[in-house]
């Protein structure tokens, strides 16, 4: 069984009314990185995941979770 890292980043970003570029600027990455995380193409490092959680005001485990099904 393959585990996947899912996330609610797009929902949280839209809730805050931010564009991908604005969120990217806040956490110091490119717009492409935010885009690939939202589309589940790229799994971020723990460092970036914590930065994103901190900026969106969520716990890391609420923003990112494992889908084992």
């Amino acid at each position: 069984m393959r585990e996947r890292l899912l996330n609610g980043l797009r929902d949280e970003r839209e809730r805050l009314g931010l564009t991908q570029g604005e969120l990217a600027e806040q956490v110091g990455v490119s717009r492409k990185t935010i885009n690939t995380i939202e589309n589940l193409v790229f799994a971020p490092s723990a460092l970036l995941a914590i930065k994103l959680a901190k900026y969106t005001g969520k716990k890391v485990e609420d923003l990112f979770w494992i889908d084992d099904g």
Partner: protein, 138 residues
Amino acid sequence: MNNTVNRADRLSNTRAIAAVVLAAVMMATQGQRMDDGGGGPLSWAITGITTIVFLVWASGVFRGTALRTVLNDESSDANRKRSLTLAFWTMMVTAIVCYALTYIKDYGPRDAIQVIVIVGISTALLSFGVMERRQAHS
């Protein structure tokens, strides 16, 4: 959108296109040189200098720290690692093919080295450029 992220996006896009173009030009010119009896030292020097100039420019070494950090962030780093891994395996397969071809065709080690190196560099550049472009526009 902030200026740094905007500039990094534009540079990243240009870098991806340049990588694909350089890979295509390298394959075409080296293929042509092989048809002409193999690439000499001058051809290797041109290929080497062009590749080094591209890599130095693409790394953003002459840009500011903030821009360079965003340009070479972790998704670009992951793409770079994946393209190098793919290039390594492509070179391994090419080397095996070159070895097998020695039973059919008579050619020297210089030709084989040229083919293996060019296939490796081109694969790395091409795959990096395609991954970066695809992710930026998905």
